[in-house]
Amino acid sequence: MELTYHQTLDVKGAKCPMPLVKSRKAITELPVGQVLRVIATDRGSVADFQGWVKAAKNIELIAQEVIHEGGQELYVHYLRRTA
């Protein structure tokens, strides 16, 4: 699956709640309609991002994927700012 994104946020190594805190900040700085790609190593971010976008008013979770890279699992989230 080839996904378009406009900016990447690397939060590898960051523990909960930092992946989400930093993503919130980054998406707020993004123009409406653009997509943020977040790369995390915190497995809990998968379920938390799903819950977060339900509570958030202007974010859409387009996709999530798990990538195996260099012996570790990366959790990649694609978020669009909708308003």
Partner: protein, 393 residues
């Protein structure tokens, strides 16, 4: 001029301190900031009256004012998350808003791993120690007398048993499981490997009831009526089929006349063990009826201390954390025992009150007889949450 910034450290509560507060019903309001799915799967439970609420941490990020407004401003608040980070984040934020907030050290994981060790009986002949895992409602025991020690229904982590036995200068000589458990991974085989003490189970439980495959762990078969001597304490095996085919109750008799009955998943303080976890509820219900009405009663007198392997709610423990009561009390307060007039009545009560069957229980039984060896992460996942071995009431 130097300005010294005064950092007010957000207080931390350990799982052991929390447990003590839960027992005494003095625990703070608990604010669980995990996502709603994780909260629904399992959470901290205490006595009736404890307030536990779920406001995910991202609500505090999205709408800080709205989320803070939902937290009581006039109460002590303990914030809990999975591992610690988010709860500290939310507790800091609440404190900045004047709320008396602290957070749970190590998150709910540390609560799940808490082992609580305390004496149940201390007598000239020795002692009975209770080792519980409060988050799971799992209870196990150590009997120590004259330097010998037996463990009954040990839980997965072996250190609490080895430490308690060493602290009393005793040596582990017998490991018993009242039955092969479905809700948690037994520490029996691991204790056997670590100490060489024999691991006893009834042979009927050494066959997986659904797979019909035999155990591949080293175990020693025990028999109905068999008696073991632990120092000056006699342990008698009483076959009690129904919850499993090979469950036993273990009657401890000491020289001063003390009698204690390790009921496993037989009779609990407020319920009794369900007959369907082997997948054969209909067929095993009459066996359970026979065990409860004929096999066990000859060994019970009013003074016999009932020592079960589980509790369903913390209200079954006294303030000192003991999950034990004499039969004179249990036979009156355990209302689930009042449906035994006929097998027909019993059957309709039992089959009408079966809680959900957690799918992982089939796999846990495989692990307990060596058919599967889970990784640590898999073991954690299998044991997540509280046991549901009792009949619902």
């Amino acid at each position: 001029m130097t300005v010294t910034e005064i950092q007010t450290q957000t207080p931390v509560m350990t799982a052991a301190t929390l447990y003590d507060a839960l027992l005494h019903n003095t625990a703070p309001y608990i604010l669980d900031v995990r996502n709603p799915d994780d909260f629904a799967r399992w959470r901290i439970e205490g006595r009736a009256g404890l307030t536990v609420e779920n406001i995910p941490y991202y609500n505090f990020i999205e709408d800080e004012d709205g989320a803070v407004a939902r937290v009581p401003a006039d109460r002590e608040v303990l914030v809990v998350c999975a591992k610690e980070g988010s709860s500290q984040y939310v507790a800091d934020l609440l404190r900045a808003r004047g709320v008396n907030a602290s957070y749970l050290a190590g998150g709910i994981l540390s609560w799940g791993h808490l082992y609580d060790t305390r004496d149940i009986v201390v007598a000239p002949w020795g002692r009975i120690i209770q080792v519980a895992r409060p988050a799971r409602g799992d209870v196990s025991f150590i009997v120590i007398s004259d330097g010998a020690a037996a463990v009954i229904d040990p839980l997965r982590h072996t250190a609490p048993y080895l430490e308690a036995i060493a602290a009393h200068g005793a040596r582990l000589t017998h490991i018993f499981d009242t039955h092969v458990h479905a809700d948690h991974i037994s520490g029996g085989p691991a204790l056997n490997r670590e100490t060489g003490a024999p691991y006893y189970v009834h042979p009927y439980d050494a066959i997986h009831p659904i797979d019909m495959l035999p155990a591949v762990i080293p175990y020693t078969a025990l028999d109905d009526g068999q008696v073991f001597q632990i120092g000056r304490v006699e342990l008698r095996m009483i076959w009690y089929p129904g919850h499993t085919l090979g469950q036993v109750n273990i009657l401890a008799v000491a020289p001063d006349g003390f009698r204690g009955l390790f009921t496993g998943d037989g009779i609990f303080l407020r319920s009794f063990g369900r007959p369907d976890l082997g997948g054969k509820g209909e067929a095993w219900t009459p066996l359970l009826y026979e065990s409860m009405t004929r096999r066990l009663p000859p060994y019970l007198d009013d003074a016999t201390l009932i020592l079960p392997a589980h509790f369903s709610t913390l209200d079954e423990a006294d303030e000192a954390g003991r999950v034990a009561a004499p039969w004179s009390v249990v036979r009156q307060t355990n209302t689930s025992l009042s449906h035994m007039e006929s097998e027909r009545e019993f059957r309709s009560f039992v089959l009408g009150n079966l809680p959900e069957f957690p799918p992982q229980y089939v796999e846990i039984k495989r692990v307990n007889i060596g058919l599967r060896t889970p990784s640590e992460a898999e073991a954690e996942e299998l044991e997540l949450g509280k046991n549901v071995c009792a009949l619902a009431k």
